[in-house]
């Protein structure tokens, strides 16, 4: 939860950075109708995507959604069956991996075990045939950047996990690539270190201005770091938006369920008054009012998506006339310290999750099991999903 709040602060710093919404801006990377199949499996399915210079871009999805394949297509380790991959306007099809101006930080880090930290970082520079002093200078710069200056002579197996991660980062950045590809960069770190490293990555990206393309399955990581997130599923992009939009305005049931916790109440649009739709949900019993700018005609099947933290819980039955009040009984309580999650069982057996912040240290009479409660939400706290 903490990271989410901090994300808001960082987002504020970069508020004006939105090249994707500027008309006429040239993307740095363009996937153009790219398809990649492995036998009967289609890993990437006619996918098009543009990523802009200086962007911190996240590919987010469950394993098997094609996100790693997409990254490997850009690095040149896979060739597309259809479509084109363009970098700075140049089709990369004929360019082998070792000549592409992108560098990758591998999930396993792939540090060369028979070379020192220094040797690993210098490896790419040596391939360019740079003069010795220049290599020295750049390696030192990189070591300073990732705060490993004292460890230049160590071997990878003499480093901790966090240090290895930094060496991998330094090695990939040393060549000053146009794009840095990061494959699950934080997956191998433990939770505390992961959170600290997130912010470090963002600082480095900001100071160098390199375009970062991160592949991850961890939504908190993506939310915290990215300018934009592409949520992927089954080889396609399910939604492409900045993190807050992804969270607050998910485009489909898939995205809403993949990112964070959500309650999906299936129903049917019965009426519309301006932006306010009336939806009848069999699970709830009464009609719900939901704000929606999307055109939805009466009779359309939709889902009302409401995040647990956007509901307020009250004891007993709601006062008469309260809009969007869902009545049920407390089925389960999960105390998390900062939050408590209540599972509410509705009359027809549906389970609803509602989270309440524990603002007070002591509560006179906390809600308890099997107690009748009502959950209330504002019409603009929920989203109507037709897909």
């Amino acid at each position: 939860m903490a990271t989410r709040n901090e994300h808001v602060a960082v987002g504020a710093v970069r508020r004006n950075f939105a090249p994707w919404s500027e008309p006429g801006a040239e993307p740095l990377i363009r996937f153009d109708g790219v398809t990649k199949r492995y036998g009967a499996v289609t890993a990437v399915d006619a996918l098009s995507l543009s990523i802009y210079e200086r962007e911190f871009f996240c590919l987010l999805g469950p394993s098997g959604c094609g996100k790693t394949t997409l990254m490997r297509l850009l690095a040149g380790f896979e060739t597309p069956d259809e479509g084109r991959v363009l970098l700075a306007g140049v089709d990369q099809a004929a360019i082998p991996p070792h000549l592409r101006p992108v560098n990758m930080m591998f999930q396993s880090y792939a540090l060369f075990p028979h070379m020192s930290v220094e040797g690993n970082i210098a490896f790419g520079l040596r391939q360019e045939g740079l003069p010795r002093d220049e290599i020295r200078a750049r390696v030192d710069d990189m070591l300073r950047l990732v705060q490993l200056s004292g460890l230049a002579k160590r071997r990878p197996d003499q480093l901790s996990g966090g240090q290895r991660q930094r060496v991998a980062l330094a090695r990939a950045l040393a060549k000053r690539p146009k794009v840095l590809l990061l494959d699950e960069p934080l997956a191998a770190l433990d939770k505390k270190l992961r959170e600290a490293t997130q912010f470090e990555l963002m600082d480095i990206q900001m100071s160098l201005g390199t375009t970062f393309l991160v592949v991850t399955h961890d939504q908190e990581e993506a939310m915290a770091m990215a300018d934009r997130i592409a949520v992927m599923g089954h080889g396609r992009i399910a939604q492409l938006d900045p993190p807050n939009v992804i969270y607050e305005q998910p485009a489909s049931r898939y995205v809403a369920q993949f990112i964070g916790d959500v309650n999906l109440l299936e129903g049917e649009v019965t009426g519309r008054d301006g932006d306010l739709c009336t939806v009848s949900c069999p699970a709830v019993g009464s009609a719900l009012l939901v704000a929606s700018t999307e055109p939805s005609a009466p009779g359309q099947a939709v889902a009302v998506a409401i995040r647990p933290e956007k509901m307020r819980l009250g004891r007993g039955l709601p006062p008469p006339g309260t809009a969007n009040a869902i009545v049920g009984e407390v089925w389960d309580i999960g105390y998390l310290g900062d939050w408590t999650t209540y599972v509410i069982r509705l009359a027809d057996g549906h389970l609803l999750r509602a989270s309440q912040a524990n603002v007070a240290r002591f509560v006179e009479q906390p809600l308890t099991w099997e107690e009748t409660v009502h959950a209330v939400f504002a019409p603009d706290a929920a989203v109507l999903l037709s897909r």
């Binding site: 990758m104 060369f112 003499q158 240090q163 505390k192």
Partner: protein, 282 residues
């Protein structure tokens, strides 16, 4: 628990005793002044003197060393290529035939391999001698080399090669700067095994050799058939010492490497703990 431990120790001691008894006996009697195995005639190195004066035996040893060096080198190169083909190039046409050709010689009785190769050499009219033995030994040992290197390659993280290419290293150069140094221990082991197998082989060499290329095992065999001789005991002891020194050296080398790594790992985990503390404080 205690009883289990004792039982295990006894089993292992008996087993190892069984394995080492004949070798120990051989070594001891090579220093026996008496010709008789049952009589200890005092310590003597006379059989070693006789051994080094035995010109045919020395010549055979030299031939064997030449054959072993040549065939082991060839087998290591071919075995590396074969292992790369099997591990790296997924499914290709004839893959199962290829795998069969690698595994069949491993279990095929040597008499058949020897006979088959001889028939080949005769039917193409090749002059038999040192080179035909080299070819025969390469054929057998390349399969052993393949299996050893294949095992190492299978556990090799391909991301390392991809990382090298990603950093601008062309594929062929990647093989020599990244892959080969990292599979070097397996390649070395493959060479050693091929070398030993070649040095040791009696049957295949007997079939495929020609005039002027008598190998050490062939010479030893023909003498042994006439009975136990202390001179052969001495020859065997020299061979055993040769192998023991080589293996001991490689063992010490790999051990010290491993210890170095262990210490490093300990240090690294200490660093990790320190790092975590730092994170928590900040």
């Amino acid at each position: 628990m205690h009883r289990g431990n004792a039982f295990r120790t006894v089993v292992l001691l008996l087993g190892l005793g069984f394995l080492y008894l004949p070798i120990v006996v051989l070594v001891i009697y090579s220093f026996n002044a008496s010709r008789l195995v049952t009589v200890w005639g005092g310590f003597s190195i006379q059989w070693y003197v006789a051994l080094f004066a035995n010109a045919p035996l020395m010549e055979a040893a030299w031939t064997s060393l030449k054959i072993a060096t040549l065939s082991a080198s060839l087998a290591t190169v071919l075995g590396t290529l074969a292992a790369l083909a099997l591990v790296r190039h997924g499914r290709f046409g004839g893959r199962s035939l290829f795998t069969g050709l690698i595994y069949a010689p491993l279990v095929m009785p040597e008499v058949i391999v020897g006979l088959a190769l001889l028939l080949l050499f005769v039917s193409v009219g090749a002059d038999r001698g040192l080179w035909t033995v080299v070819v025969a030994h390469t054929t057998l040992t390349l399969c052993f080399a393949t299996v050893i290197i294949q095992a190492r390659l299978a556990s090799f993280d391909r991301a390392l090669e991809e990382a090298a290419m990603d950093l601008g290293c062309p594929p062929a150069k990647t093989f020599f700067t990244i892959t080969l140094p990292l599979i070097a221990p397996a390649v070395g082991a493959a060479f050693l095994l091929a070398f030993t197998l070649s040095l040791d082989d009696l049957v295949i060499a007997s079939f495929t050799t020609g005039p002027g290329a008598t190998t050490l095992p062939m010479r030893i065999y023909s003498q042994v058939r006439l009975g136990v001789t202390p001179e052969i005991n001495a020859a065997c002891t020299v061979l055993i010492a040769f192998v023991a020194v080589g293996l001991g050296l490689s063992f010490i080398l790999t051990r010290s490497g491993a210890r170095h790594r262990d210490e490093a790992a300990g240090e690294a985990s200490a660093d990790a703990v320190a790092e975590r503390h730092a994170e928590v404080r900040s």
